[in-house]
Amino acid sequence: MREPSSIDNVGGGPGLLGPPPAPGRREEGTRAALIAFASTIIFTIVALWVILASPNWPKIQQQFFDWGHFVEAFPAILKGFWLDIKMFLGAEVIILILSLIIAMIRSLRGPAFFPIRALAVVFIDIIRGVPVILLILLMGFGIPALQLPGVPKSALFWGLTALILSYSAYTAEVYRAGIESVHESQRMSARSLGLTQGQALRYVLVPQAIRNVVPALLNGFVSLQKDVALVLVLGIREAVRAADIYAAKTFNYTGYIAATLLFLIVSIPVARFTDWYTERDRRRKQSVTA
């Protein structure tokens, strides 16, 4: 494997730190890194100084960044956050599968499949056009209130179902874009080998489509991580609700900051991973022979 040139290393890929600077030698790469590091430190110090010296800072700090309140609020918020984590991990698995099925249905060609294709389109249009919070309220309170036999009553069940449906509609379109971005010759090659539409999708198109849309899927995942908090309107005590309870009781908003930190701790790594993955994919594509 040939040694990576400095054009790949210096400055990092697109995303956080901008496009890579002009090619140079290894020494220049290290020097650039040190400069960036030093300037970040200086910037941080200046920013901190500006904030902390401001006359409004004591008030802001007491209201949002009070250590005593942080410690007191944290346990309940962490407990609620654990529920958030379970929710978004569980929901994401189902979303990835359900939306793929919907996307594959939408990708079937030919008049025979029109009814289920149309059904998929209608589902996607309706669900995607409705705010998630509305879906959560409709399903979370509305459906159990009907008291239909055999239908679950749990707020958590319906809240998650609403989230799953909403995100599946969105993610199905992501997959579909991925499937359609695969070169038409691939589909024709698959069909010409005698594969049925379903087989072509399954063995040829979808594997490639997924590779193409991993960043978009990860994006959706980060979005879901935040939106699970919406189930709080159904009375579920996840992290934001826990912070809310604390704030209503004490009139101090440090709890919200604590919840914010927890959400960032999970979402920032995913965002960085997405950057890394996109960059790796881009480099691989560049080195492919024509």
């Binding site: 070169h183 010759s185 691939q186 024709m188 090659s189 698959a190 069909r191 010409s192 080998l193 005698g194 594969l195 049925t196 087989q199 063995y203 040829v204 594997p207 490639q208 590779r211 492919v288 022979t289 024509a290």
Partner: protein, 249 residues
Amino acid sequence: MTLPKLELRGVWKSFEDKEVLRDVGLTVGHHDVVCLIGSSGSGKSTMLKCINLLFPIDRGQILFDGADITAPGVNANQVREKMGIVFQAFNLFPHMTVLDNITLSPRKVHGAAKSRAEAQARDLLARFGLSDKIDEYPDRLSGGQQQRVAIVRALATEPELMLFDEVTSALDPELVSEVLNVIRGLKDVGMTMVIATHEMGFARDVADQVCFLDEGRILEHGVPDQIFSSPQEPRTKQFLQRIIDAGRL
């Protein structure tokens, strides 16, 4: 008298409002090699894809071994198994190794056992000198190797007719001949083929029949000598003259 292997009768095809094939008629006998020549957009590629039932035709018939494969109710997948087609590019499935590319159809469509499919794949690859590439991914192969593997993959389904859609047009010049030699080899074993190509020298060499397509019609057809040495139609002459001027004939 045996039926021709492939026959097109009065085939018309339009995309949106544009007519791409106009009243196309063609007869391909068993073991015949037919070369299609003509400018881009003349309909060569569409014709091949219609033969392979990748596009439905608007009017006319296509007969394969005497059976009308464009009639309603025909199982297109089954027909396609008996034909192989190789495109200009993007043939191989990039997320699979060469071996998996080749064994996919025999295993999933014909239900062949894994071991048998793999044995067949090895055999074919050996015949075409590609054994060392068997576990590679397509992006590690040169363009010429990829096209050769694409041909092998099509052969794995044991087709009776092979279609080639300008398979060397996207290759670097030094890689063209290795692919053309493979096709020559297929002619030697009696494969019936319809080849769309810009390689006039090659066409002259291998073809039993050459068809010149112009704006969706077969303007002229005949044996290579006739077409290349004494074309009748003015537009055929024009086309060939441009090729000669470019030093490609």
